[in-house]
């Protein structure tokens, strides 16, 4: 087997291991499935361009992929945010995001809907850290590698984010019961 074929096989293996989790992560951060596809494609293209070691699934490549996907997603959010402000849609979108009814889907429990809507009340960085910690179940060290924040800072932001979440869930729960 030629060297290019071997490298292609190795890349296929890495993609099959990480594509689903990266798509899920990018989708959660960017809140846009189409953008998630773009982000994950760009992540793998950058892997091809910049990863000089063999393509082997493992912690090193996993952290690297998450970091690149995270940066691409953050860039996407910034671009979208600028575009929304330019088009005067920002306030409208934020209002829609905070509406508990907007994400109601069949089969979702009330508690889950409340939690997801409460998550949207956090700022971008807090949301990213909560997704990484609670949903992706990454350690502080891994989150630090992915986001470039210190582990102390990760803990501090998460602590405040969880407090805000508890308050938001409680407030939304009360509104839901009254409404």
């Amino acid at each position: 087997m030629k060297s290019a074929d071997r490298r292609l096989d190795a890349l296929e293996r890495v993609m099959s291991v990480y594509e689903t989790q990266l798509l899920r992560y990018a989708g959660r951060i960017a809140s846009n499935p189409s953008a998630a596809q773009d982000i994950v494609q760009e992540t793998f293209v950058r892997l091809v361009r910049k990863w000089h070691a063999p393509f082997e699934p493992g912690p090193a490549i996993s952290s690297w992929l998450y970091r690149v996907a995270h940066n691409c997603a953050v860039d996407f959010i910034r671009r979208e945010s600028r575009a929304s402000v330019l088009h005067g849609k920002h306030a409208e979108q934020q209002e829609a995001a905070a509406d508990p009814e907007i994400d109601r889907k069949d089969g979702l429990s009330d508690r889950a809907i409340l939690a997801m809507n409460a998550l949207k009340t956090l700022n971008d960085r807090e949301q990213q850290l909560v997704v990484l910690k609670v949903m992706e179940e990454k350690s502080y060290r891994e989150i630090s590698e992915i986001t470039g924040l210190s582990t102390g800072n990760v803990g501090y932001i998460l602590h405040h984010a969880m407090k805000k979440l508890a308050v938001a869930i409680s407030r939304m729960g009360d509104e839901h019961e009254q409404g």
Partner: protein
């Protein structure tokens, strides 16, 4: 969240350090403790405090509920796509199989500038070459105007009439 609830909580009689920790301090590290992001010695202090402080146990239970709700939502919300589309997968493979072209696509701005500079240089070079060649091309070309057609002029000959 009541930061002063430690006053309502039962006061431990033991002078152990764990029990001297204030609820506010515990609250600050509660998420670290629940995420197992704390050294064993400090985790032991928090555990001991929680054992004796009903208020902090309520806070911890609330935080655990929030975490569980988020995890539940994460599991319940269906993922739009689990795989990259074929088109995007092909694009990634293309990048691997054609590194030079991929480099050119990635650095398209640099490549465009280089091509523009090359075209300009080629144009300037061609024009200069053309400018230098022009006088040489004209030298040595004999131009005869009206020779043999004018009677009475020196060297002039009358063309033979055809029969």
């Amino acid at each position: 969240m009541n930061m002063n609830r430690d006053s309502n909580a039962p006061k431990p009689e033991s002078p152990e350090p764990a029990l001297r920790l204030q609820c506010a301090e515990i609250e600050n590290v509660l998420f670290d403790y629940m995420s197992h992001e704390m050294g064993e010695a400090r985790a032991l202090l928090v555990r001991e405090h929680l054992r004796h402080c009903p208020g902090c146990r309520v806070t911890a239970a609330g935080m655990q509920e929030t975490v569980e709700a988020l995890r539940k939502a994460s599991r319940e919300i269906p993922q739009e796509a689990e795989h990259l589309s074929d088109e995007r997968r092909s694009r990634v493979k293309w990048a691997l199989l054609h590194p030079v072209l991929e480099w050119m696509v990635h650095h398209h701005a640099v490549v465009s500038i280089l091509i523009a500079v090359a075209v300009l240089l080629g144009l300037v070079y061609s024009l200069r070459r053309a400018g230098e060649r022009k006088p040489e091309d004209l030298t040595g070309i004999a131009i005869t105007i009206g020779q043999g057609y004018v009677d009475g002029h020196e060297g002039g000959t009358q063309p033979e009439k055809s029969p």
